[in-house]
């Protein structure tokens, strides 16, 4: 069942050009050039209950603007959207009680107070009954492993601990939809992984619908079966991550080390050389030929070790963006 419906959504921001220098500053007091930028252009998508969808795009692509319109923060310039049957920018409390927004770069927790104080405040704001609050809090603190830090001032927590508390604060009212904007930004690898594991488990157990924007492809690869790619405000792909990779990945990577030096000339016939040193090389080989090529390499070259890798999701997405930019 569709829980989020977006039709021809667009958002145009207006801003003023201001050139550097004192003279230009004085000029701008009398005349300013008004400019417009289309952050989101005619996006239409539909998201079903329980889906975990990754929004991908470079900086300024329009991902966050889309998320902000869907959570009711921004009014669109054109188009319509319904989330859980509500128009988000009407900001009806019945709607607001059913979703949560977590922004990796902005805190909702009180900086000078322990996270527990913010949780209690959220309990009253979202009118969560005592019994539900205790039950949900127990579950979340267990899942996120934050029981021991609830009474410590937020400003004294690490970034990873803080993000876990932000997630707990956002989920205390058991929302049906969760918007996550860069939830792992700035976190170390272990913390990133903890957050991903939590989201995966939470989505599986609670059937909550999650929309995630992230610059880290690892987030998307680990969590999302479906991805929506936005570039220059336009939707350029909406479908499964697997299908995207199948469509755009026609190569594999063969990484080898040798027991004695091997020249570039000897390697050229096996595929495109990506990296080369005398006793180490990386080749790009068409996917359908990879088995034959690997067998030939093992037979003809003094191979010490060989690895066959997929092209990284990061590279695939980068290629898609650069192809789209050239168009």
């Amino acid at each position: 069942m569709s829980i989020i419906e977006v039709q021809h959504l667009s958002k145009t921001y207006e801003y003023y050009r201001k050139q550097a220098g004192l003279l230009n500053s004085v000029k701008s007091l009398f005349h300013r050039e008004k400019l417009f930028t289309e952050a989101v252009k005619d996006i239409s998508i539909s998201i079903n209950e329980g889906e975990l969808v990754g929004f991908l795009g470079p900086n300024g692509a329009g991902k966050t603007t889309t998320l902000k319109m869907l959570s009711g923060i921004l009014y669109p310039t054109k188009g319509t959207a319904t989330v859980l049957g509500h128009t988000p920018w009407k900001r009806e409390p019945t709607f607001q009680k059913q979703f949560a927004l977590v922004m990796g770069q902005k805190n909702q927790l009180w900086w000078d107070l322990p996270a527990m104080e913010s949780f209690l405040l959220n309990k009253e704001i979202y009118e969560v009954p005592d019994a539900d609050f205790t039950k949900t809090l127990d579950e979340l603190t267990e899942l996120l492993d934050i029981k021991h830090i609830l009474d410590i001032q937020v400003r004294k927590l690490s970034l990873g601990e803080r993000m876990k508390c932000e997630l707990a604060a956002a989920l205390l009212h058991s929302p049906k939809v969760l918007f996550l904007d860069e939830p792992t930004i700035g976190l170390d690898v272990v913390s990133q992984n903890n957050i991903r594991e939590f989201l995966k488990k939470y989505n599986r157990e609670k059937k909550i619908t999650i929309i995630l924007t992230s610059h880290y492809m690892d987030d998307v690869a680990a969590l999302c079966e479906r991805v929506v790619i936005i570039n220059f405000g336009q939707l350029i792909y909406d479908g499964s991550l697997r299908a995207l990779l199948d469509k755009h990945v026609d190569h594999k990577i063969i990484e080898m080390t040798f027991t004695e030096p091997v020249t570039k000339t000897k390697l050229q016939k096996f595929g495109r050389i990506k990296e080369w040193a005398e006793q180490r090389a990386i080749l790009e080989v068409p996917k359908i030929e990879v088995k034959t090529v690997a067998t030939d390499i093992l037979r003809e070259l003094p191979v010490d070790d060989i690895l066959i890798n997929e092209i990284s999701v990061d590279d695939v997405i980068r290629n898609i963006f650069s192809a789209h930019r050239k168009r």
Partner: protein, 262 residues
């Protein structure tokens, strides 16, 4: 309503927890306030050594007028001022996002988030002074006058809040409004002096086009029997009208909100 009382009681509790860390700051604020207050009273005292009455206002009434002004400003600081002054930054740096997605009134959350307990010492100081003035000079003619004064002071605080909201809402259009804010703040300070000493046109302007009289002068003027009782109705209408205008203006501004890039 019950929900908002619960939220407010938690905010109050949080304010205690937070301000307990800043005891030295609270004491310093109180000490500088007492010094400033002393200077102000000495200035007025010097003035009245040369005359007994200025446009119908004697020394005791002027002291009383100034005291109510400062008291209402401190109460305003206690509840609202720090929050109001943070609104422009909240808008320009995109922190307003979090307020807009919560199922509670955005204006309520914005203006009540932080309660400045550091104003408590100053409020108590003003209260003590006020009681001394009333008892010593027998200023309030009747209980009814006291009730009217109290009611109009409350309206005056609501007027301050509505003025503040309207000024801060300008942040949706202008990146920096601190200069407008500051200009209004200092201009409103004139309300601690008897405005009827001004030429009639200027006095009328203070309750029409430059409405600073509602915050303090009209409450005290009516309370002390120096202004017509019709000002009660005028004040009430002005407060309701201005509050509604402030709310509508805020919603108009919200349509322009562009958040901030993350």
């Amino acid at each position: 309503m019950k929900k908002y009382f619960k939220i407010y009681s938690l905010l109050l509790k949080n304010a205690f927890s937070r301000d307990a860390h800043y005891r030295a700051d609270t004491i310093m604020h109180w000490a500088t306030h007492v010094i400033w207050l002393g200077m102000l009273y000495i200035l007025v005292d010097v003035l009245f050594r040369h005359t007994n009455v200025v446009a119908g206002w004697d020394k005791a009434s002027v002291f009383f007028l100034m005291n109510i002004f400062i008291l209402s400003q401190q109460i305003f600081l206690f509840f609202f001022r720090d929050n109001l002054w943070q609104i422009p930054n909240t808008i320009t740096d995109g922190r307003l996002d979090q307020y807009l997605v919560t199922p509670a009134n955005t204006i309520f959350l914005l203006v009540s988030k932080q309660i400045s307990l550091r104003a408590t010492g100053r409020i108590l100081t003003q209260m003590i002074l006020l009681i001394w003035l009333v008892v010593h000079y027998n200023l309030i003619p009747s209980i009814m006058s006291g009730i009217i004064l109290f009611f109009l002071v409350i309206l005056g605080i609501i007027v301050q809040l509505a003025h503040g909201m309207i000024l801060n809402t300008l942040s949706f259009w202008f990146l920096r409004i601190d200069n407008i804010h500051e200009a209004w703040f200092w201009f409103a300070q004139a309300g601690k002096y008897p405005l009827t000493v001004l030429p009639k046109t200027l006095w009328v302007a203070t309750y029409t086009i430059l409405p600073i009289a509602y915050q303090n002068f009209i409450p005290v003027g009516v309370g002390l029997g120096k202004l017509d009782l019709s000002f009660i109705g005028v004040s009430l209408l002005y407060t309701i009208g201005l509050s509604l205008l402030a709310i509508q203006f805020w919603h108009l501004g919200l349509r322009r909100y562009a958040s901030a890039s993350s």
